[in-house]
């Protein structure tokens, strides 16, 4: 497809067993497609194969079978990685370098000129809030600072595609918000972002589309709105009615929560809604609100894993 930034076809990975260990199948027949400009969250429990997929996409490991195309180029083409920014999970950086030296090194790998590297490093250190720590040795950085610098290096070449492995883990709530904001800004700039996460609330806030991986298999893919928002699990109706009239309008299987003349009921079946609204009106009651209750990503995620 013309607008696919990442495309994998029948991608599988089996780690060969060393010595007495048996081979381990980490990924099975993965067909993945990430569209240009979208934020794609790759979700799954520990050991699902998320990191294996990301390592395959960044050529750190090689597929057992299947193909990978990045921005129309086969992954085996060195230049396929030219416009990619990558941040590994729990990154370790070169402790003996300062933050600025490290970004300079990364820029040199991208064959950027010395002056461009210098300028870009200053810009990125500011972006990730490390302008004061740029000259300090990385070995003195906190986990959060290291994570921010790792994000900065992923942006050094102004990539079209960002691949981030658990970008929000190890960060405090403010750090997580900062990273979320950076990702959303990058999306606004038109960049494609593919990230893995086990923090579902973060994924829910920033992803356009999610893929759920379990035991090496992609078990569900869809837009966030399709998978989560549109799944109404119940409808919450609040109305006012005289307490003595309540028993006549409430169906047997409903459990009302009453506070003086204000009542709240939760309907699990949508067909009950019109009947209830009509009864309230006929009894002289007043409808306050009708709120559909949607499934959270976490509930959806657990349901998917349970099914598989």
């Amino acid at each position: 497809m013309a607008d696919s930034v990442i495309q994998t076809v029948s991608l599988s990975k089996v780690y060969k067993g060393e010595l007495e260990h048996k081979p381990v199948t980490a990924l099975v027949d993965l067909n993945l497609e990430v569209q240009r400009g979208e934020v794609y969250a790759f979700l799954g429990p520990n050991g699902a194969g998320k990191s294996t997929t990301i390592k395959l996409l960044t050529r750190l490991i090689f597929p057992s079978t299947g193909t990978i195309t990045i921005q129309g180029k086969d992954i085996r083409d060195r230049y396929a990685l030219d416009r990619i920014g990558f941040m590994p999970e729990q990154p370790n950086l070169y402790g003996y370098l300062s933050g600025r030296e490290f970004l300079d090194y990364v820029g040199a790998i991208f064959r950027m000129s010395r002056s461009v590297r210098k300028e870009r490093a200053i810009e990125l250190l500011q972006l990730v809030g490390l302008e004061k720590g740029g000259e300090r040795a990385i070995r003195g950085y906190s986990r959060g600072m290291t994570q921010r610098l790792a994000l900065a290096q992923a942006l050094m070449n102004d990539p079209d595609l960002l691949i981030l492995d658990e970008p929000m883990s190890n960060l405090d709530p403010i750090g997580r918000k900062d990273v979320r904001d950076i990702i959303l800004n990058l999306k606004e700039e038109g960049k494609t972002i593919f990230f893995s996460s086990h923090i579902l609330s973060d994924a829910e806030m920033i992803a356009d589309r999610i893929g759920i991986l379990n035991e090496g298999r992609l078990v569900q893919v869809g837009t966030m709105s399709k998978l989560v928002d549109k799944q109404i699990v119940s409808t919450e109706v609040t109305f006012e009615i005289a307490p003595e009239k309540l028993s006549s309008i409430i169906q047997k299987d409903l459990t009302p929560v009453q506070q003086e003349n204000r009542v709240m009921v939760r309907l699990s079946d949508e067909s009950q809604l019109s009947e209830l609204l009509e009864s309230v009106n006929q009894s002289g009651g007043k409808i306050i609100s009708v709120i559909p209750q949607r499934k959270s990503l976490e509930e959806y995620f657990i349901a998917q894993l349970g099914r598989n």
């Binding site: 780690y15 390592k55 750190l60 090689f62 990154p91 070169y94 040199a108 790998i109």
Partner: protein, 254 residues
């Protein structure tokens, strides 16, 4: 440029490594100590100083090759810093070559500093700088580079301790290569000569890079020895780097 970027980073890494500095200071201290040792020998002071100094350079060069050469790759793999570089548009052989070049520059600097100490010691004894030591020092540097190439190859697929032992074995066997051939010729085959033959042919003959006795004893030697030594050493290094690159090219960085 990518190779140079990796080389420069490796140079920074090794130059900021305290182990390296400790080994270097100790080596220079030992070379200067040869002045005292030389005092004890009645008639051979200058020879003792040169012999002692060149031996110290060889041993400490080996230590640097083993400790720094192996750590260089192992640390990248264990700490996963390599993820950030290999995931960029760089070929793996460029990374291997960059690492090797970076360490070679550091080693050149080390050998130069140790040589300055040795030349300084000989100047104090003889009143002039003995440039005749230079060919021996050049070949000693090539020997260190060759041992480093082995340590890099071993550490690309072996555990660090095993790599260190294997590198030491190469150094020892490399210096006993001629003796090994004599042993095979002298004693009848008990069934294991195939192994000795294999070791003889695989391990480099490091004595081909040893001009120490000639320069210390002031023995005449053909200038082709230096040319042959350089060709021999760099051919071996090239082959080892190619094998390392091939091993590394196919390695899953889990």
């Amino acid at each position: 440029m990518r190779i140079w970027a990796v080389a420069l980073n490796t140079f920074k890494e090794t130059i900021r490594n305290r182990i390296l500095l400790n080994i270097l200071f100790f080596a220079i201290g030992l070379i200067l100590l040869s002045l005292v040792v030389g005092e004890w020998s009645m008639y051979q002071q200058v020879k003792v100083i040169k012999d002692f100094g060149l031996s110290a350079m060889s041993i400490f060069g080996l230590l640097i090759a083993v400790f720094i050469g192996i750590r260089l790759m192992v640390q990248e793999l264990e700490q996963k810093t390599i993820y950030l570089i290999i995931s960029k548009p760089i070929r793996r052989w460029e990374f291997v070559l960059g690492k090797y070049l970076g360490l070679s520059i550091t080693l050149a600097l080390n050998v130069l500093l140790m040589s300055l100490a040795l030349w300084g010691a000989s100047y104090l004894m003889e009143g002039y700088i003995d440039w005749s030591l230079t060919p021996a020092i050049i070949l000693l540097y090539v020997e260190i580079l060759l041992v480093v190439a082995f340590s890099m190859l071993f550490s690309s697929f072996m555990m660090p301790t095993v790599s260190a032992i294997a590198t030491l074995m190469i150094f020892i066997v490399g210096h006993l290569s001629d003796f090994l051939m004599e042993f095979i010729a002298l004693y009848p085959d008990k069934g294991y000569h195939w192994l000795l033959n294999a070791i003889y042919h695989v391990a480099p003959n490091l004595e081909k890079l040893n001009l120490k006795i000639a320069v210390v004893e002031d023995l005449p030697y053909d200038s082709s020895v230096l040319t042959f030594g350089l060709l021999y050493g760099f051919s071996y290094i090239l082959i080892l780097l190619i094998i390392t690159a091939i091993v590394f090219e196919r390695k899953d960085l889990k």
